[in-house]
Amino acid sequence: MLLFDTVFNGNDKVYTLTEEAVDKAIAQHGGDKAVGFPDTAYGLPCYNAVTGTKIKSLKDIKDAMGVVKSLMTRERRIGDAFMSGVATALCAEFIEALKYIDGATPYAEPCYGHLADAIIRELGVPLVTGDIPGVAVILGSAPTAQEGADLVKSYQEQGILVTLVGGIIDQVAEVGMKTGANVRVIPLGKDVTSVIHVVSVALRAALIFGNIRPGDAANLMKYTFERVPAFVNAFRPLDDVIVACGAGAIALGFPVVTNDMDYADGVKVPKSLIRLEDVSKFNAASLEARDIKIKITHIDIPVSYASAFEGEIIRRGDMQVEFDGSRVDCFELVQIKESAEIEDHKIELIGPDIDGFEVGSKHSIGFVVEVGGKKMQPDFESVIERKFHTYINGGEGIMHTGQRDMIRIRISKNAYNAGFRARHLGEILYAKVKNDYEAVVDRCQVKIYTDPEDCKKLRHGLVSNVFEKRDERLLSLTDESVDVYYSCILCQAFSPSHVCVVTPERLGLCGAVSWLDAKATNELEPEGACQIITKEGVIDEKLGAYESVNTAVKKYSMGALEKVTLYSIMQDPMTSCGCFECICGIEPLSNGVAIANREYAGATPLGMTFSEMASMTGGGVQTPGFMGHGKHFISSKKFMAAEGGVERIVWMPKELKGFVAERLNATAKEMYGIDNFTDMIGDETIAEDPETLLTFLQEKGHPALKMDPLM
């Protein structure tokens, strides 16, 4: 059968099934029954993205079936096949949505089913930085479980996010592979319709980061084609339903690689539908088809190394040894040295290796990474040092948390048995520093101390001296004390019209780019994502309005943005890409702002969840009254300074409050002389509605209540 006819058939079948399922659900629950997925602000995200209509009830789905039908034209043109593919996907979304009626939890471990908005926002940064270079969708059963698992593993080792649908889920379980979002292998579900949950991620990415208006199907598909690096691996046997779904994937720009050589006349389409018998070549063929380039850093260690292992957790029982800075003396330090004093790639272990340590024991460790190079600056020491967490975590079976002298490192039994030793931590640091900072670091050597006495002496001497000096320097870095700011367009691969302006007191809203990071990035790549903005042409100092900032924003947003202010959330607030850590929005009743962080899934007094607040902004759009920002910005003296500063904060989730309390209290004390300001701020245990919150604020005498009206 001709390829297009196969697509049309598959689409017709799914449409009929969906119609029956919807009718049955209506018969059972009535047309007014609410439908939707949990933890998303986008309703049925795919249908919403394609048509601009939010579905709320079963009756809405019934109406939507008519719209879907209108996509199912039957001329033998790829445009018709594409839209039939999209129609198939929308039907799949309806079928999946029915599973969630009445708050049901249709997916059980290890399957995820629907993925929350927060997961997508978290993926934003790694996707733009290339830490996650692609998204694989694997469907069906590989010829053998081992071949399937090997394929998944091959992607995982490249940092690619892998989603699994159907038989492959059992196959990877069979060979004992760990799955989960933290290791970037996400089983979606066993039914073919569950593939919609990854499609939903791609389409929401377009809405969140790309500022695509729901209903603008043409630009939606342009966005996914140009910016979402996903691809499909579909195992034989194909059937016409899978082929119809495949047409939907290809319509969105995602190539399909299959080992079914015959189905649908065996036709191929360059870079779109690739037939390949040998599953071991799927990885290479898929990356080539989707133009995904993997940054390879060869690291000489006996375990796998990939960003996908960053989220891996090592439990006590699986642990060979542990280094714990909260109990014993530990530290990590980058120090600038004259190049002549450095022997490149020298890795020195000073003290006993972990062979001598008892299984499950706790020890001291300290590493000093000495770097030299003509362009190296002391300011970059901490920039490089902050990367250690990510670097060390990339090793399979190695876990790292914390920073400076509050680090914790665990090495798993598996890693130890594979031959991982203390020296290998040095290998990782050396390789990554040299690779990521090759423009400034000419030479690098690593000293690893494991003798408790050495660690103690260094920690309290050299190391704490350096940290103190750095802190002084950081404190002296204010928006006023520097001459230049930086623009950051790291996200533009995803959010084409967003520009961040990074100042010392306002880090990038993703939380990942501080002023020093931006400075280093600019030094590393002078034509790259971070460009210097010279502070010139003051328009309004209080608002943080500068002509040079406006010029830069206009230039780097390609004219999408005319002007932004640095310190106001009401007047020309800075835009967001969509991967912000937090979002604040005005709470009119209490004359202040409520902040929600990405991890917080509950309600806020604004009557919206984080996801819903977040959907108000992002994609480079200015929404006065709403602003995305990093967690550390909350305690900045510049936080909505134009509207009076941190005094305006009236509500935050408890967990976030705890995270920022110390620094926020210090800022409030310094600025307004208020002690324990955080205690005056509401949280979800106090109020989830504005009235209760107001009562609480009045009791506490919160300063916002007496301030000038925000609106």
Binding site: I78, F82, P270, K271, I274, L276
Partner: protein
């Protein structure tokens, strides 16, 4: 997200022309628009091909009352002879152009005016011709190849060497039907001989020789022209340029090259980019030198050097009407004699260069390959010195131009296709990715659109509207000649034109990084198109006539165009015309062309004046071919 990109409409182009004609009226210039009116209505006997003036007993015209000429020749014989002579005229023209190129190739030298720019291609052709290439000096090889190519024009025995590039099946057809071209010149001579008084008057015989004459052009002289031009001037690769009159610059010295033979224009471009010449232009009050082109000379230098295209055939007078053209330098073919008198109304120098195209009211600077450099310098210098003679009150350059990506030789198309292969599964250097797109239905097929402008058709309208219709139906276009320039002027060679395509072609454009309309070169370069069709047939296992591919010349006017049509049809490609050849007077000749020859070569002509219908017919034919293949 169209980035503000829009196509230039025919209406906008016509408005610009209207404005230029006003300037013309002020200086008392003549124009083709006026002359068309004067010549209308055209002679009906001529139009239908039934006026015979081959001997001095006549002229004889066929009417109901006088159904035969004095010699007794019937209308079929007369129409058939006229048709064959028309074809022979075109074949001679293309092939003689090719011959000039071969002569130039005989003169290449490492330190000469002309060099071998693409030695790999030369070696490739030499291997095809069984010439030893191992360890040979490339210039020595070039000279030997030139000699062999020149012998192709008059060799006493055998058939064209180029035929071996075609698929076996096609070669068999040619042999079976006795239309394999022998020596190139012979097929023109035979045509003239057959049509002399007292020779052939049988329609079948005359049409068969028409096909063979056409073959001697496309699979002979034109192919020599294309292939050896590539050897000397470089095989075209993708290059960005611009098209329409807005490419001329008011502040620069404007030199416009016009005609067909790249030997002259290559030299003009070379010298106009020389720092000494630019300095001289500045000395004379200009900011620099802009070389742009008209007709196929323009296509040649656009394809190889990205030199902008000022316009196509019916825009040649407009170039002078801008009042900003210091020199229009012409070589051969399609040059209006009107340019002489017109240039006298302005400061423009009309410089003829070839003994083949000598015209009154022109300055004749005889160009030859030995003195090419000096000739070119002299011409550029003359243009620069003419800058000061501009009449500012007459200067008006319509600010209208579009970006265009051009340079899609067969080699470049193969390179682009390589770009969408997957190294895990595909071989490189084949047409297979294109075939896969067609087989799967992502592309429905292809149309090779070529040819001229003709006042009988609203100029450029047929080209542009047909292209838009085909693109929307996922049909990719390969184009050449003035059709290509129409596309470029409209904006259809801008990669953003993908937005005007069906979803399949759009995706192909995005993945292969091409515009939807691929510029393959000048009219001589239609030889590239038959090579492309051959490669597709060989790589797909289909016969050429089975490929969902048709040819189209909606606005054709010249003898060359009919010669081209004949070799395209003889290659197995159905060809759609928007203008009737002078053959409608005989149902036999007309019937053969539009149907009968299908039994010989598996393809035939279709003529339709309604452009909308012409497009529908091509799409239907392509779908018919698909259905026959079961795809």
């Amino acid at each position: 997200m169209m980035d503000g990109f829009t196509l230039t409409t025919v209406e906008e182009m016509e408005a610009a022309t209207q404005r230029l004609l006003e300037t013309g009226a002020r200086v008392g210039a003549d124009s083709w628009q006026v002359r068309v009116k004067q010549q209308t209505p055209h002679c009906k006997f001529g139009e239908e091909g039934m006026c015979c003036r081959i001997c001095s007993m006549g002229p004889c015209r066929i009417t109901k009352k006088a159904p035969k000429g004095i010699c007794g020749c019937d209308v079929h014989g007369i129409v058939g002879r006229n048709f064959l002579r028309f074809v022979a005229g075109g074949a001679a023209t293309h092939s003689d152009h090719g011959r000039e190129i071969c002569h130039t190739l005989s003169n290449v030298a490492p330190d000469g005016n002309y060099k071998v720019k693409d030695p790999e291609k030369l070696i490739r052709i030499a291997k095809e011709w069984d010439v030893e290439t191992e360890g040979r000096d490339i210039y020595e090889l070039a000279h030997e190849m030139a000699e062999m190519a020149l012998l192709e024009y008059g060799k006493p025995h055998g058939v064209s060497r180029w035929l071996s590039r075609a698929p076996k099946h096609t070669q068999e057809i040619w042999k079976r039907e006795e239309i394999e071209p022998r020596a190139i010149d012979r097929e023109v001579s035979t045509a003239m001989h057959m049509t002399h008084m007292g020779n052939s008057s049988k329609a079948e015989a005359l049409i068969r020789q028409s096909l063979r004459s056409g073959m001697s052009d496309g699979w002979g002289g034109s192919m020599c022209g294309t292939e050896f031009s590539d050897v000397m001037f470089g095989t075209p690769h993708e290059v960005e340029t611009e098209a329409n009159l807005g490419v001329m610059s008011e502040e620069n010295v404007n030199i416009v090259v016009h005609g067909h033979d790249p030997s002259l224009s290559e030299m003009i471009v070379e010298y106009s980019e020389h720092p000494d010449m630019i300095a001289y232009a500045k000395e004379m009050g200009a900011k620099g030198i802009t070389v742009s082109g008209v007709c196929c000379t323009s296509n040649e230098v656009a394809m190889r050097r990205g030199i902008p295209m000022a316009g196509n055939f019916l825009q040649q007078e407009n170039v002078v009407l801008t009042g900003a053209c210091e020199a229009i330098v012409v070589d051969v073919q399609c040059i209006f004699p009107a340019l002489g008198p017109l240039s006298k109304c302005f400061h423009t120098k009309f410089i003829t260069t070839s003994p083949i195209a000598q015209m009154p009211d022109s300055e004749f600077i005889r160009f030859n390959s030995a003195t090419a450099g000096e000739n070119a310098k002299q011409i550029v210098r003359a243009a620069i010195e003419n800058f000061k003679n501009r009449k500012p009150e007459l200067v008006h350059i319509p600010q209208m131009k579009q970006k265009a990506f051009v340079g899609y030789s067969v080699e470049e198309i193969a390179r682009k296709l390589d770009g969408v292969t997957n190294s895990q599964v595909d071989e490189r250097g084949t047409m297979k990715p294109l075939i896969d797109c067609v087989r799967s239905g992502v592309l429905r097929g292809a149309v090779a659109m070529v040819g001229c402008n003709n006042p009988k058709v609203r100029p450029d309208y047929a080209h542009i509207e047909l292209m838009k219709k085909l693109l929307a139906n996922d049909i990719i276009l390969v184009v050449s000649g003035c059709s290509a320039q129409a596309a470029a002027k409209a904006g259809l060679m801008d990669k953003r034109a993908k937005e005007f395509c069906g979803a399949g072609l759009k995706r192909v454009c995005e993945l292969a990084d091409i515009p939807p309309v691929l510029h393959m070169g000048s009219c001589v370069d239609i030889s590239r198109m038959v090579v492309l069709a051959s490669r597709i047939a060989i790589d797909s296992g289909w016969n050429i006539s089975q490929i969902p591919l048709v040819g189209c010349a909606p606005e054709w006017m010249s003898e060359k165009a009919v010669s081209i049509g004949n070799y395209v049809v003889a290659t197995g490609i159905d060809t759609y015309l928007g203008v009737e050849p002078y053959a409608s007077g005989s149902e036999k000749v007309d019937g053969l062309l539009k149907g009968g020859i299908r039994d010989w070569v598996e393809a035939a002509y279709t003529v339709e004046h309604d452009i909308e219908k012409l497009g529908d017919m091509m799409i239907a034919r392509i779908e018919e071919k698909r259905a026959a293949l079961g795809i």
